[in-house]
């Protein structure tokens, strides 16, 4: 179908072209700026610790290490086995503490509770503590992301 009249004037067309071009130009500038402002979070691939420092941990105790910029927690359970967590509450990112008497992890910010296996059992936390995997290789205690072997 051929229209008798054009839908917009020549001026509207040129203004739209110029405006659209300007918008595209500034849009293309925003991308690198955003990229610069938001650096990617670099979580460590793995953290290598000295196993001898953890070997002698008494049952029902924890030890902290640096998992990138977050605290990591190595926990020795009653039965002598180890578990490793990222020691950050899943609610609003506060660092949690372990209370050996109660065998619970506790977040003081909003009274969040996790049991000794890191399951969220009370207060606002929506998910269990994040787990990490650990391997003992000779002298070294190697801690990796879960599933990242």
């Amino acid at each position: 179908m051929k229209l008798k009249h054009s839908l917009f004037t020549r001026r509207q067309f040129l203004n739209g072209l110029l405006g659209g071009w300007l918008a595209a130009f500034f849009g293309s500038l925003i991308h690198p700026v955003l990229k610069f402002i938001f650096p990617p979070y670099r979580e460590p691939e793995e953290v290598v610790l000295n196993y001898s420092e953890f070997e002698g941990m008494s049952p029902n105790s924890v030890k902290y290490f640096s998992w990138g910029s977050k605290p990591g927690i190595v926990q020795r359970k009653e039965d002598g086995s180890f578990q490793v967590f990222v020691g950050v509450c899943t609610h609003l990112d506060c660092n949690v503490t372990y209370l050996p008497e109660q065998k619970k992890f506790f977040c003081a910010c909003h009274e969040g509770w996790y049991d000794e296996n890191g399951m969220n059992i009370g207060g606002p936390p929506p998910a269990p503590l994040r787990r990490l995997e650990m391997f003992i290789e000779g002298e070294n205690l190697i801690i990796k992301r879960e599933g990242g072997k």
Binding site: K35, F36, P39
Partner: protein, 354 residues
């Protein structure tokens, strides 16, 4: 209807129509020297780029002896696109100062500073000094060997001025020597003190220009015929946008092709590296100081040099009051001085590089 209402609603509260009416009526004279008018807005373009990239660098830069150099290295090596943001900041500074010089030469030769534009000139002179201060303080921030040496030399120069000099040096350094306090001061000046004054003076400068309208060069004015005019909005702005786009393209290209280097971390106890040079826009001053002999008639050569330079700056700032002839006079002598100053600066700069 809705659109119109919003416009009226805003205008009642902000008085925007005053500005839009002004912009509609503003005219730019059209003659063969019109391209000089672009130099001012080119400065504003680069200044805006400096502000934006400066904000961005501030997100990562850390002004301490331990971290200054490392944080710049982090910007160059780790932050996504950090190297190009720093490169743009560094190059845009040079481009801006180059435009400031070109702007200045145009105004000098056209005698645009004459009555009633004396204050426009004075505010421009202060803006020139602020631009150079931006360059000088920014040069120290990467805290590498070169920037430390350049700052030591630069802050030591005022010491030769009798009586007050030593205090200027102490004021700049925050003590006897270049230390952490100097870095803190320069950082504060660069990101806070100078920007506030720059914004204030740019506002004044632009206001003065609007108050008096665009100056027409003497040689056009003495023909005594009214030159053609171009509406500022949108005709002239569109032309300016073309210039901005070209300059932006050149800026991005050189920034990608020639990113600035980052030297070894500065060590306050280490000997100065060889071949220290200031930024290119200080070279002619650097060379001027270098050629003065140790003693002139029993007075320290450097003292003589600095006093001469200060006198020159003062005369330069007072140019509209020294050359206060009516606007029709050509002022060939003033032009001659301008050409001599340009020749001198070029000659000294090239000499200092040899």
């Amino acid at each position: 209807m809705g659109k119109l209402d919003l416009g009226n609603w805003l205008d009642e509260r902000l008085g925007l129509k005053l500005i839009s009416r002004f912009l509609k009526e503003k005219k730019v004279p059209l003659h063969r020297h019109t391209p000089w008018y672009y130099t001012g807005s080119a400065i504003l373009l680069f200044f805006t780029i400096q502000v934006i990239t400066g904000f961005m660098l501030l997100f990562y830069y850390k002004p301490t002896l331990e971290l200054a150099n490392k944080s710049v290295a982090q910007i160059m090596n780790e932050v996504p696109l950090g190297w190009i943001i720093r490169s743009i900041h560094s190059w845009s500074a040079s481009f801006m100062i180059a435009c400031v010089f070109i702007h200045l030469i145009g105004i000098w030769l056209a005698k645009s500073y004459r009555k009633p534009r004396e204050m426009t000139w004075l505010s421009g002179v202060i803006l020139l000094l602020i631009s150079l201060a931006f360059g000088f303080t920014g040069y120290l921030l990467p805290w590498d060997e070169l920037s430390l040496s350049a700052t030591k030399v630069g802050t030591d120069i005022p010491r030769s001025i009798p009586v007050v000099g030593i205090w200027v040096t102490k004021l700049l350094r925050g003590g006897e020597d270049v230390t952490q306090d100097t870095l803190t001061r320069f950082f504060g000046l660069h990101v806070s003190v100078l920007p506030i004054f720059a914004f204030l003076l740019i506002a004044l400068h632009v206001y003065f220009i609007q108050k008096h309208g665009m100056s027409v060069p003497v040689e056009i004015e003495i023909k005594n015929e009214k030159p053609n005019e171009l509406p500022f909005w949108p005709n002239f702005v569109y032309r300016e946008m073309i210039v901005w786009l070209l300059l932006f393209g050149v800026l991005i290209s050189v920034s990608i092709l020639f990113p600035p280097s980052l030297g070894e971390e500065a060590d306050l106890m280490a000997p100065a590296p060889e071949g220290i040079k200031p930024e290119w826009y200080f070279l002619f001053l650097f060379q001027t100081l270098k050629i003065f002999p140790a003693k002139i008639l029993g007075v320290e050569g450097e003292t003589v040099a600095i006093i001469l330079i200060l006198i020159a700056v003062l005369l330069f700032a007072l140019l509209p009051f020294l050359d206060n002839k009516p606007a029709e006079r050509k002022g060939k002598f003033v032009s001659l001085i301008a050409y001599l100053v340009i020749l001198y600066a070029l000659f000294m700069s090239i000499w200092s590089l040899m």
